[in-house]
Amino acid sequence: MSVRRRSVCLLLLGSLLSPLLPIVSSAETPVAFQVRVIHATKQPKGVDGRLAGLAKEIQELQKTFGYTTFQLIEALRGSAPLAQPWKTAIPGNRSLEIVPTASEGGHHTFAVRFVRSNGQVLVNSQVRLKSGATVFVGKVPHQEGDIYIAISAD
């Protein structure tokens, strides 16, 4: 078999097997996400410029709950393979645990758990996020305001 013919065969084989790649690699590839911890209050300070990416959501929270100040306390980038937990401590002596459970076609499913310092589980949830979409978990009362956690799929 000539080199050219062999190359064509390899190309054909590759194109036939390419649909299998997402299935083979999906369990191994880490799913990336972002966690932003936001302190919302009614003090007259304004909106932290680092929250520009959440402008639409911040505006809704302003309109609905009357917050006037939004401060980004923490911005974390997480990633974990499917079925592997990712954890972080958050203000208020709580912890947040995220487990990617499925990832396909730009949609990612996460199991999200919010836990108190004494181990008491406050909420167990499953959310499905399109890449770039954000869901909020809230709200932990904190210093005349509330803490919200914004979880976004990368």
């Binding site: 299998l20 304004g46 909106v47 302003q62 306390i73 923490e74 310092s117 959310v127 954000t134 909020f136």
Partner: protein, 178 residues
């Protein structure tokens, strides 16, 4: 698995509401009738089995894993560090607050746990009971809340203002033990 089988399974999974129901089944939240329907799908769809298995293992990992705890040293500096960060960011870019629904609604008092529980019943009745609505609205901002399980003493409300893209899993906590 042959290519035709893969495509058949993917098409099977892509049917509207199917992945939703599969994930609810994995979380043990389907009715007996729904459960029977899902089991029939699982018998013939490998992709569905894979999704349910992944979801079950994710939930199991969450339920079994030990919670993250701060060390004594971390606890000692935690709040001072939060305060320091808040103070450090004392001059953020200021954006005017637009008046709107706030004026219409007024500043409602913080919900008590009892009223929160009532709200939960109402909200869950309106939302979890109509999963299709949540799924259908996901196109607006790409967020679907598939299941919510509140802890023993906590209450949870799924919150979304009409015509708003923001979805909040709102946790009402019992007061901290003294």
């Amino acid at each position: 698995m042959s290519l035709s089988e893969i495509w058949r399974h993917r098409a099977h999974l892509a049917l509207p509401g199917r992945s939703h129901l599969l994930l609810r089944h994995a979380a043990g939240e389907t009715s007996p009738a729904e459960g029977q329907r899902v089991e029939a799908w699982l018998a013939s769809c490998g992709e569905c089995r894979r999704l349910v298995a992944a979801s079950r293992s994710g939930l199991a990992a969450l339920r079994a894993s030990a919670p993250v705890r701060l060390t004594a040293a971390e606890s000692a500096v935690f709040w001072s560090e939060v305060m320091r960060r808040l103070d450090r960011g004392g001059t953020p870019a200021v954006r005017p607050v637009r008046p709107g629904i706030r004026e219409l609604l007024g500043d409602h008092p913080r919900l008590s746990l009892a009223s929160a529980a009532a709200a939960v019943v109402l909200a869950l009745g309106l939302t979890l009971g109509q999963f299709g609505l949540w799924g259908a609205s996901s196109g607006m901002n790409g967020v679907e809340i598939l299941s919510v399980e509140a802890g023993d003493d906590a209450s949870v409300m799924l919150f979304q203002m009409p015509e708003s893209p923001v979805k909040i899993i709102w946790v009402f906590e019992p007061p901290d033990p003294l």
